[in-house]
Symmetry: C2
Subunit: 452 residues, 2 copies
């Protein structure tokens, strides 16, 4: 019998990596697990950062689901401030820089999990390095922004990018009383919605006090004494004492690429349903990896915390020798701007057409509760189906409190491959405080069913 | 060619009957449609009545989805105060009493739709006919109760029955400032929940100021000068200046039975997936009819407004010669008591066991939003699955704002026949204001998956 104790190395101490580590340790406590994290924190809620800046979260520690100490108590050797700068597949070693001890060393592994996450896309324009320009893709960055807001007391803010982070930061800045401008390079915010639904969001942003400028790509930043004072676009220069960039993320996949591991959509690490990469003995999960899209029938880059957790779980189970298979995503996402909830699942009309589907669409406006019930507010549903089969392809929702999570019903139906006819007769919960007698998502399906 | 104009007669002017009538008229305007309604209203929201009594609904007219005049403008011959007292299948005639004109007549039909709804179950005990004892199964009854509350200003109320109506009336009475006692004959309220989940509801009732008495079947009413003063049970007599009975409903199926039409579960009119009865040319829909339960594989009596609307739609489409099939229910229902939302779908543990399933169950307590997010509140999910297949059989939810409608995700999964393994990886919407990273329904499924 071998006395060798198996060692699994995890690169990245956040959702995906630590989920994998935890599952593995739970099922196979005899395996040695080392997790390298270049930052200070493990397992924290990246999606909560805008709300930390808004002041909704009392303590940064509330965002930490599990501390390094808690992981260590579970037997995981968590090494903080430890950046993996290279993977040597032939030697089965990672090359690590310990930023605290200021030393470089190699650590061997039997199996490896790459969970390096993503980083904000860069914006290589003049003035980008000025003080007062922030991204918020880590707890440290969010705290730096929060400290800046406290110490500098800016009055005017510009947000660059009208995606999820842009909208959430718009809520944060308005909540803190800043004059807030949102610049979007494209003709509409929320590229993950069709433009007719994005327009509803734009109206809410404007009614919520945001100065919204569409078609305004950033060309540079005005600065004074090294600090940002304005944002330059072809349609004007916008005063800003603080700027947040939210123009999307890209996968931290260079380590994998340099080790010869196959990348996929948008340079994400390509993984199979067990989260295995092209290299034997190497797994990947989370925001550095792609995910199989069940409607598109191919893997895409669609980084989300919820997928990271699921992939991490599958990865850990697979490492432990348990049968586990991540069946893929259907493209669900949700956010809000103040009272307005915004959700999508499946394919938008634009996405479906560009994927080659024959589609029909319907949009309906309904109410979140029975119309006569106190607190009932508007919600608009757009639904997309395939012609002539009637198969559901996707839905988008914009509306008041209680609107957004209804997308889960559609996401579940998409996963099951339901047609409009099946969807219409779903036995959904109805009582006046919760819904009109026909749920708004069903009203949309009924309208659409007449057109197929 | 025949010059005979086809005539369809509808008995009952509420959700099911008028949905059928409307669908038929929309698709086949050449058909004559006569709808007999013994009351004053058409197409109103029965489920809204407790909230009318609570004072949440400004105007009774807000509960009317479509007035008789509106139906008439759609070409439906609505005859109010017109009670059908017999069906003569051989002659293809209904016997009608016009309570306004005080005359009886026969009207012939080519095809017939029975949508006579349900009535409160009777409580044949001494004192039942005293003033101050109400049921609220019609708009007139709800208005009578509201008027009584306004004119008599009672201080103490007793609710008999801890089902949906009982809970909703408890909210109504507490909202109006009455000292409220709820008497339940069984050991627990909410027979549609397992007792471990019902206990959560009981705690909320008590914390909400309701005096809750379990195991207290009503044996009679104390009266003074013809007015109720108390409710007599084996465990004591409870003072009451007003009483509401909410002990369930039973189908108005005597007309059908007397015409020789086959009845099913609990004497509901048995219908097939097209809402056709055992008699050729006769359809039934809504609270007088049964419905196919997809998990039980047989038809049961489970009267709900949402099913009535769906059956009415199918009935109308089938009458119009369109392909339409009601695939059945999965037993979804929802209600609330103040801030506490209560929902169920599929089978409870008790129902599943009594139907002969081998089951495993799990109960988890989670939060409606990410735990650190303002407004996050508790929710408990109980999930039931079949052993050893892992097929989902049902779920129950009790919790704060945003908890209840999550039942729709499970209802959709049940409809698709999903297993726990499929359910766990559903691509549900996550952002901190909406959910923990693993939705509570998925947390329950994960816990359960370990036990299968």
């Amino acid at each position: 019998m071998s006395t060798h104790r198996e060692r699994v190395v995890i690169i990245g101490g956040d959702a995906a990596g630590m989920s994998a580590a935890s599952q593995l340790r739970r099922l196979r406590p005899e395996v040695e697990v080392i997790a390298f994290e270049r930052g200070t924190y493990t397992s924290y809620a990246l999606c909560g950062l805008p709300y930390l800046v808004a002041g909704f979260v009392a303590e940064p520690s509330r965002l930490v689901a599990r501390t390094p100490e808690a992981h260590r108590r579970n037997g995981i050797d968590v090494r903080l401030h430890s950046e993996v700068i290279g993977i040597d597949l032939a030697q089965q070693q990672v090359i690590v820089v310990d930023h605290e001890a200021k030393r470089e060393y190699r650590e061997s592994f039997d199996r490896l999990v790459i969970a390096t996450g993503a980083r904000p896309r860069s914006l290589p324009v003049p003035g980008r390095d000025a003080e007062g320009i922030f991204t918020i893709h880590s707890l440290d960055e969010a705290l730096a922004l929060a400290n800046w807001l406290e110490s500098q007391r800016p009055r005017s803010a510009v947000i660059v990018g009208g995606g999820y982070v842009g909208l959430e930061m718009a809520e944060a800045f308005i909540t803190r009383g800043l004059q807030t401008t949102l610049l979007e390079a494209a003709p509409h915010v929320m590229a993950l919605l069709d433009s007719d639904m994005a327009e509803l969001v734009e109206r809410e942003l404007q009614q919520g006090g945001i100065r919204l400028v569409l078609g305004a790509p950033v060309e540079g930043f005005e600065t004074r004494q090294g600090r940002v004072t304005g944002v330059i676009t072809p349609v004007g220069t916008f005063e800003a004492e603080v700027v947040v960039l939210g123009i999307g993320v890209e996968p931290n996949s260079e380590l994998a690429r340099d080790a010869g591991i196959v990348l996929g959509d948008r340079n994400a690490i390509h993984v199979d349903e067990h989260c295995r990469t092209s290299a034997p003995g190497v797994w990947a999960a989370g925001d550095c990896a792609d995910a199989y899209h069940r409607l598109l029938g191919r893997s895409i880059y669609f980084p989300l915390g919820t997928t990271a957790n699921k992939q991490g779980r599958v990865c850990g189970l697979d490492l432990a020798g348990r049968e586990a298979r991540f069946p893929g995503i259907v493209g669900t996402a949700i956010t809000r701007f103040r009272e307005t909830e915004i959700a999508r699942t499946g394919l938008t009309e634009r996405e479906a057409r560009s994927a080659g589907f024959q589609v029909v669409t319907a949009q309906v406006r309904s109410t979140t509760r029975s119309g006569y019930f106190p607190g009932a507010t508007w919600m608009t549903v757009k639904m997309v189906a395939e012609e002539p089969t009637g198969r559901l392809l996707g839905a988008q929702i914009v509306g008041g409190s209680g609107a957004g999570k209804r997308i889960d019903t559609v996401a579940t139906a998409l996963t099951a491959g339901m047609t409009l006819d099946e969807f219409i007769y779903l036995d959904l919960a109805y009582a006046p405080p919760f819904s009109p007698v026909w749920d708004p998502v069903v009203v949309a399906a009924r309208k659409l069913a007449r057109e197929v």
